[in-house]
């Protein structure tokens, strides 16, 4: 009854409740994905809003064979890219000049305390910000959002070989920066 296809079809006929359900189902992954790309909570909310407005506007163009979540991620990717090009990138680059952010290759022992998870979250977020745009997008879609290569290719427009290469390099970079937390988080 409330399958994605059914919700889309109802929303296309002007059923606002159906669109609201689509929003409720996908707003969290879409917002997280955007946040992963730009690292700014307020801006991520703005862009998530823009994503769903655009989705509403072009729901009728959604092809039946396209998975709704993949389609939404695709819109989110476009919205994010546009924003990064214009202003958000500048803001993040300013943030990245902070020494604290750049001091990620430090191999000193990790303090085991109650702040470890919080620290880990911050380190991951900052490390993501250090990846270049393509690598960050592929890495977050695969590792954080568990999308298949095919879906990532559809969302990003990258070829499978390119996304595999980007993913491999992104993993290596992330390992260098966050690898010291392996086995210490969530144990």
């Amino acid at each position: 009854m409330n399958s994605s296809a059914d919700l889309v079809s109802r929303a296309c006929r002007g059923d606002h409740d159906a669109f609201r359900m689509i929003f409720e189902r996908y707003s969290r992954p879409v917002l997280s994905f955007i946040y992963d790309q730009i690292g700014d909570r307020d801006a991520a909310e703005e862009l998530a809003q823009e994503t769903f407005v655009r989705a509403y506007r072009s729901l009728k163009s959604l092809r039946e064979e396209t998975k709704l979540s993949t389609w939404l991620f695709g819109i989110a990717k476009n919205v994010t890219r546009e924003s990064i090009r214009s202003k958000v990138r500048d803001r993040r680059n300013v943030d990245l000049d902070d020494d604290q952010v750049l001091d990620l290759s430090d191999q000193s022992p990790v303090p085991v305390n109650q702040l470890l998870d919080k620290e880990f979250n911050q380190v991951v977020q900052r490390s993501l910000a250090k990846l270049d745009d393509d690598k960050r997008m592929v890495f977050t879609l695969k590792v954080l959002h568990q999308r298949s290569y095919e879906e990532i290719a559809e969302i990003t427009g990258f070829s499978i070989p390119k996304l595999k290469t980007d993913l491999h390099r992104a993993r290596a970079e992330m390992r260098q920066r966050v690898g010291r937390y392996i086995g210490t988080i969530g144990t």
Partner: protein, 318 residues
Amino acid sequence: MKCDDCINLLETYLDGEATERESDQIQTHLATCSMCANQLETLTAESEMFTRYDREMEISPALWNGVAARIALEDRQAESKSKTGLGEWIAGLFAMPAFRFAMPAMALVLIALLVGLAYWRTRPQAPAHGENIARAGNPKPINPTGSNSGVQQNDNPVPAPTFDSTGADEGHGPKIIAVNFPPRSRAMNIGRPTDQSDVLPDTENNNGGTMEERDTASHLEQAQNLLLSFRNIKYSDTDEEVDVSYEKSESRRLLSENIMLRREAESSGKFPAKSMLGSLEPFLIDIANLPDKARPADVRQITDRVQRTEIVAELRSY
């Protein structure tokens, strides 16, 4: 399979994207190679670690409210665009060579109408037999046309027009400065006290206008009650959820009514009403979008805003 080949395929294998044949080869190799098996274990631990990444993202009601408001705005714009399209089509007709004469002709007709109206308003007038009732500060509705209009007055559910005499139209018999008719009727009636058919309220128009105002007043009263009821919901911070199902359904009903009334107020140029309804709408949207069992923090956020903006006082004084 050699170790290098295995290592190269390990990530693909871990991602569940290796072909069946590759998977078989990797599994066979891993069974005999502890180094590659360790490598897979590290990669698995790494993936596991990233699943612990918590962005602490909360979906605030404001996010949906923003989306809903923008969608509603786009719908409205699309609607007005289609109307503009019709207007442009009509304008296009006038722009066609065969109709070009229409514009100057229409301008001439308008000028003639304005001159006629100006003459009508400034010509000497005989005192009306109802002039003695146009007193300053008369608190009661007064029939400006005398007893002859009783039939229409009785049949008309709309309150009779009232007058005040504080204006500047001095020296022309009765000092009727402002008639409390809706704008359209006022324009028709001022300065023509002897002509009963014109002085009497235009029943159809007045009914429409007054009904609209009455609807708005009733709507705002209900909204005020809703906000008061919402503000007075009893809960404590330790509650996991607050039942707002009644307020939510009431808010949904009032929201659609609010949008309709605001549009009407806008189209008829009633800007204070439009502004009041516009200020109210975000509160209705917020409450309408709460789940039936809302989180105390979300409820508190709205009640704080209700208090901070003093919307209830504004509604009361409207």
